[in-house]
């Protein structure tokens, strides 16, 4: 009971607090918070918004899982941004250059993406394990490097194709595309299934394997884990590489399900969204799924705010304050429960061995 409460209460508090903050901001700017919420919920039924939310949530879920794997070991993989973008770009290039039988073609693209993500995350992993370089610094710097690498790769004189004022990689033939589910109001990416499977795999890895136990143990206390026979260097490398491998998949739902190429205007910023969603979901597979859906809802429904003249930036305020307040809320609830625990123990101590105490006192 208490465990469920300590898991669910903080995010609930954080969302309520963030919503209250947004309501205040809306009232100050002269708009009605209830109307704003109303049109955002109403937007879900419009056009392809519901499907867009599911698709985006799947992407956010994959990046958040990547972040969560690092978080389990107190590793901040800020480089997810660069890992998924470079992986998507290279995978799209490879996918466009080769033609294979249907399923095989798609699998090759997925494997390439995973490998690129893993290799790109392997650099900070090795630096961290053998040279003690902070993964925060090295991954941020590698993000900048990956930007340059992508710009080089999609130049028209390397692998790019000029399309008007846009540049894209060579389109992937239908044999390499990942078929989706056409709902009539938009197509749900086939990769959504992969995202769900990844979540199940993440849960299994963490709770049912020795590796998962060692991962969590290293995160709780590195020294204790080392004393228990866990190879710290090996854990750092595996955790970061695994995180990068998962991150490598994040660009694929759109590349394989909609765009069939990587272009100049391919989306950015998922990596940072992933960190926020993992934080919100407390690294729990179900929590992350909830966080990803909430994030996607806020992102996709925000378009309706333009209709009633409310600046869409209110959603950014909401997302930012959710992340900040969820951190604060966990800490507040943790302290509150610690204090309650202390009081309970103190009460028990006062009650049971009363005789001893009186002798001492």
């Amino acid at each position: 009971m208490s465990r469920i409460r300590s898991a669910l209460l903080p995010p609930a508090l954080a969302i309520l607090f963030a919503a209250a903050l947004c309501a205040v901001a809306l009232v100050i700017s002269g708009a009605s918070p209830l109307t704003a919420l109303g049109v955002m919920i109403g937007q879900v039924g419009q056009g392809t918004t519901a499907v867009d939310i599911v698709n985006s949530a799947a992407i956010y879920y994959i990046v958040a899982l990547a972040a969560a794997i690092g978080f389990q070991m107190k590793l901040f993989n800020i480089g997810i941004e660069g890992q998924y973008r470079l992986a998507a770009c290279v995978a799209a290039i490879v996918g466009g250059l080769i033609v294979l039988p249907p399923v095989l073609h798609t699998l090759v693209i997925i494997v390439v993406a995973v490998l690129v993500g893993a290799v790109w995350a392997g650099i900070p992993a090795l630096l961290k394990a053998y040279r003690g370089v902070s993964e925060v610094i090295s991954t941020i710097m590698l993000n900048a490097v990956s930007l340059g690498a992508i710009a080089f790769l999609i130049r028209p004189d390397s692998f790019g194709v000029l399309q008007g004022n846009n540049i894209s990689t060579k389109p992937i033939e239908p044999s390499g595309q990942f078929p989706g589910l056409d709902t009539g109001a938009g197509t749900i990416f086939g990769m959504v299934v992969v995202a769900v499977l990844l979540g199940v795999g993440y849960w299994f890895l963490l709770n049912r394997t020795r590796f998962g136990f060692e991962l969590r143990a290293s995160g709780e206390s590195a020294t204790a884990a080392t004393a228990g026979g866990v190879n710290a260097k090996r854990m750092v490398i595996i955790a970061l590489v695994l995180s990068g491998a998962v991150a490598g998949l994040a660009g694929l739902p759109e590349v394989l399900g909609r765009d069939f190429a990587y272009t100049l205007t391919s989306p950015q910023g998922y990596g940072f969204t992933g960190l926020a969603v993992a934080l919100l979901g407390r690294n729990h597979p179900a929590g992350i799924a909830f966080g990803a859906l909430l994030w996607a809802f806020l992102d996709k429904s925000a378009i309706a705010l333009d209709n009633i003249g409310v600046p869409r930036d209110i959603v950014l305020i909401m997302q930012g304050s959710v992340v900040l307040s969820v951190v604060v809320a966990y800490e507040v609830v943790r302290r509150y429960e610690l204090a309650a625990e202390q009081r309970r123990v103190a009460a028990q101590l006062r009650g049971a061995p009363a005789a001893d105490k009186e002798v001492v006192g």
Binding site: G47, D259, D306, N307
Partner: protein, 383 residues
């Protein structure tokens, strides 16, 4: 020798005046023009305008129509209103339609894009405008190419326009600009003005669209002074659109060029341009003046004083003219009157004279302009 743009000259008078202006090139350089660096920079004479030189066409593309029944949707690119450049220029076109065509302000809607957003966000934005009955819908920026292709096919009865891209559908009007032609003219102006024989180009993001600005600028500069050195730098690489909205890095890049000897810097970097202007304003002195060249809008007017004093001219890319004329054409029911490309011949691109920074160069610049319009000079859009 000072002539105002827009005045009509007899061709013969014009050409002889221009030849004289070209020969007397040294008088065009400012006080410091007599120093060693200045004399090293050999300059060509401006082209003599051939007989029947095209006069700048100030005439409207079509007579004003009544747009009071239209509901106009405007989907901005990243940055949205307030970028003092590209998006604001599109909005200015809408404002002009409200003022002159009877378009009702309440019947217009503007929606803005978010940085790094996904394709489905762009599709939803356009679809929503179309669903609510807005027609025409103007998509500002080439990022909308794919999404507009999707949505325009779904709404065949809605009129669409896209800025900076070509979408080949019957209900889509493509509003493209010959940015390289306008950039050619400001490149020529920069080469006429420089005393160090070194000028700079600061691009926002290294994408084909901005490379056209670079290409035109370099060609214009080399046409005037074949030996001029042009520093070309981009703030961010292709795919990272932050370079259009990062004044701090604009300052750094421009300062690097100024430090290495450039004394005229042209930017095509959207919101980052403010940083470029500040770098030039900080480096300029009475003995060694430095100049900046703005882009898209007449930035002497949009940038606050005293920073704007360093802006000698701006390359005008008249998105406002294109948007206004498109709305007008839709109101009149015939979009076929619109030019294929908004170029120098329809004043779709050009240069500004506000602030008087190029008053002494106008005659030469208009000669180059006439030469481009009548085909004597062809400006390539790739560097």
């Amino acid at each position: 020798m000072r002539h105002r743009r827009g005045m009509a000259f007899a061709a013969a008078v014009l050409s002889s005046a221009l030849v004289l202006a070209g020969c007397a090139r040294d008088t065009g350089t400012p006080a410091a023009g007599g120093d060693a660096a200045g004399t090293e920079c050999a300059r060509n004479a401006a082209p003599a305008a051939a007989g029947g030189a095209a006069a700048p066409s100030a005439a409207p593309i079509a007579p004003n129509a009544d747009a009071s029944a239209l509901r106009v949707g405007l989907a901005f690119d990243v940055g949205g209103r307030g970028d003092q450049s590209f998006n604001d220029s599109a909005y200015a076109g809408l404002e002009r339609a409200v003022a002159e065509l009877g378009l009702v302000q309440d019947n217009t809607r503007e929606v803005a894009a978010a940085t790094g957003e996904s394709e489905d966000a762009r599709v939803s934005r356009l679809r929503q405008l179309a669903t609510e009955g807005f027609s025409p819908v103007v998509a500002v920026g080439f990022a909308y190419s794919e999404s507009l292709t999707t949505v325009a096919a779904e709404f065949p009865d809605t009129q669409f326009a896209i800025v900076d891209s070509v979408v080949d559908l019957p209900n889509v009007t493509s509003l493209t600009f010959a940015a390289e032609q306008g950039s050619f003219l400001v490149g020529a102006a920069a080469a006429m003005r420089t005393t160090s024989c070194q000028i700079g180009f600061v691009g926002g993001v290294e994408v084909p669209l901005i490379q056209a600005f670079e290409a035109g600028f370099v060609q214009g500069a080399k046409a005037v002074a074949p030996d001029v050195e042009v520093d070309v730098d981009y703030i961010s690489p292709a795919g990272d659109f932050s370079g259009f909205n990062d004044p701090a890095r604009g300052t750094e890049v421009a300062r690097g060029q100024l430090d290495s000897g450039a004394d005229v810097v042209y930017h095509a970097a959207g919101g980052s341009g403010q940083g470029v202007f500040e770098a030039v304003a900080a480096a300029t002195t009475a003995e060694a003046p430095k100049y900046a060249i703005g882009v898209d809008s007449d930035q002497f007017n949009t940038v606050a004083a005293p920073t704007n004093e360093v802006i000698m001219t701006s390359m005008l890319k008249r998105v406002d003219v294109a948007v206004f004329n498109f709305i007008n054409a839709v109101a009149a029911g015939d979009t076929s009157v619109l030019p294929q490309t908004f170029d120098l011949s329809v004043d779709g691109v050009g240069y500004s004279t506000t602030g008087g920074g190029v008053d002494d160069l106008v005659a030469d610049l208009d000669a180059y302009k006439a030469a481009i319009i009548n085909g004597d000079i062809t400006v390539s859009s790739t560097p």
